[in-house]
């Protein structure tokens, strides 16, 4: 396995694990909160805020899970503008551009996280510092910059877009 594939495999494992844990962090406190309120009459202080942290992690690491499965929404009506033989080049440019986009966002997000850390902003209910949660946004953007950079240089590692999967499988079967 080459370096790119190893990195992508590690990213996939990490992001899926993070999403799984984040779902637990999101759902469990809310369920416990409802159960406690139904049984005891009062909920758990801060449970929704903890759940929001889980939701942010799911949403951000989910970007990688969606990218890995070729599931990001993409308007395809302009795909036919360029000749078919240009497709590999266009796709390389596309992935490089997406990598640049995420890298740019990661840089901006890093500056924001650093600013929040220096200002010592905290969650109003839990009194937790905000910057570790905001760092999830930075990390997710960074990981996707790496992912798309690998896609740009290694065409064989690119995921097949969800919309293309069935037609391509059918074409292969017919061939």
């Amino acid at each position: 396995m080459n370096v790119g594939a190893t990195i992508l495999s590690a990213l996939k494992r990490f992001e899926r694990m993070a999403c799984g844990v984040a779902f637990l962090v999101m759902a469990a406190p809310l369920m416990a909160d409802v159960a406690r309120r139904l049984i005891v009459g009062s909920g758990i202080l801060g449970a929704p805020q903890v759940a929001v942290v889980g939701m942010i992690a799911v949403a951000m690491f989910g970007i990688g899970v969606a990218a890995d499965e070729g599931a990001h929404l993409r308007p395809r009506f302009l795909d036919g503008v360029f000749p078919k033989r240009w497709k590999p080049t266009i796709e390389t440019i596309a992935h490089a551009l997406t990598a640049l986009f995420f890298a740019g966002l990661a840089l901006i997000a890093f500056a924001v996280v650093d600013e929040t850390r220096r200002l010592e902003d905290v969650n109003s209910v839990l009194r937790w510092p905000l910057w570790p949660v905001q760092a999830i946004i930075f990390l997710a953007f960074l990981l996707n910059a790496v992912r798309y950079a690998i896609y740009a240089v290694s065409p064989e590692l690119r995921p097949i877009e969800e919309a293309d999967r069935v037609p391509e499988a059918l074409e292969e079967a017919r061939a």
Binding site: R16, C19, G20, F23, M26, A27, L30, M31, D33, V34, L38, P48, Q49, A51, V52, M55, I56, V58, A59, M60, F61, G62, I63, G64, V65, A66, A67, E69, A71, H72, L73, R74, P75, R76, F77, L78, D79, V81, F82, I90, E91, I93, A94, L97, T98, F101, G104, L105, I108, A109, A111, V112, E115, Q134, I137, E162, A163, V166, P167
Partner: protein, 429 residues
Amino acid sequence: MAVEIALLITLIGVLMLLRQPVLVALGAAALFSYMVWNDGEAKYVVYDIWEAVNQEILLAIPLFILAAAIMSRGTIAKRLIDLAVEITRPVPGGLAIATVVSCAFFAAISGSATVTLLAVGSVMHKALTENGYSTEFSIGALCAGGVLGIIIPPSIPLILYGVMTDTSITDLFKAGLGPAAVMVGILAVFAMATNFSRRGDWTLSPASWIAALRRVSRASWRAVFALSVPVVMLGGIYQGVFTATEAAAVAVALALIVELVVHREMRPSEVWTVTMETAKLLGSLFPVLMFAVSLNILLTFEQAPQQIVALMETMIDNKWQFLIAANVLMLVVGMVIDIGSAVLILSPLLLPIARSYGIDPTHFGIIMIVNLGIGYLTPPMGLNLIVAMAAFREDFWTVCRGVLPFIVLMLAALAIVVLFPQITLFMVS
């Protein structure tokens, strides 16, 4: 200003030409807008992304999607669809009507137009096309039926409207039922009329009726626990036992219990698969939402919506003029902006004007959601069109042709909802 707007449009066009996902096109548009119109401060894009995701009310969204994914993976969706198929089997065009009714059943669980489309579509698209219904009709019916997901409670856009305008979410959930019934009726009549040649599976003999009744009662029994999920969830909300977010958490717990313990047709290991499917869906939808909200925060900061509303006020003399103008505005906005962002921007701006003309806030909320829901079906940005294109592997024009008659039907339903407030308010205290 005109040069900047032209540059922005060109940027989005070039990105789409270069096969960029919607999230990149929207994110780049947000970055460009913040750089040009917000003193070159791109970091506020990230601050606004943070504001967009750091909201408790949004918790209902992933949880309802997770609950719907569990129910789609297991057999709850299938059982509800089977029940709808059995009930409508004797009617001409029964399978088409079953599609609409299944969407209505599933809408009571999912709260999302896209999830309803996917859950019902995964079963019914194949069934419809295999039974000779045209691809265009099948896709159109599923896309339009999917919109019921945001009108029949629990509805995520209704929750957002309630939060933004301080309107009772319970009242909004009650109010959604009447208009949803109107839409189901219109879609079902159209489905029957256009497929009348596909005769129902019945004869006049008593044996045929007894057999049909047996099938319906068997399907009802199989669906009894599946139906219990929306009953407990919505009952809990209506009785004030749960908030919408808590109901979503309860829905996840109930769905897991029903699928793993009662039906036992889902393995515990599949919970992980379902969770990852949900993460994938959220990973593709949330960033779009984040950047859309980010852009809208800037638009709001620059007072663009207020300028539009101020312009409307100078041209409006009475309630009906306002309703027509508001509906046209919402239809146009719904075509280009996602429903969540549109609700967040427009509801606090339009409601005060609506109130001044004596329009009930709950009624106006339903008008807004039905109206913006039509945006799910309108090219080029209609989310149900994009999802249907991907899920059913059809080209964009086939999908567009399929939804066209349904857009007309939805507009007719919207007109009825606007003209007859009683349909919306009959259950509201």
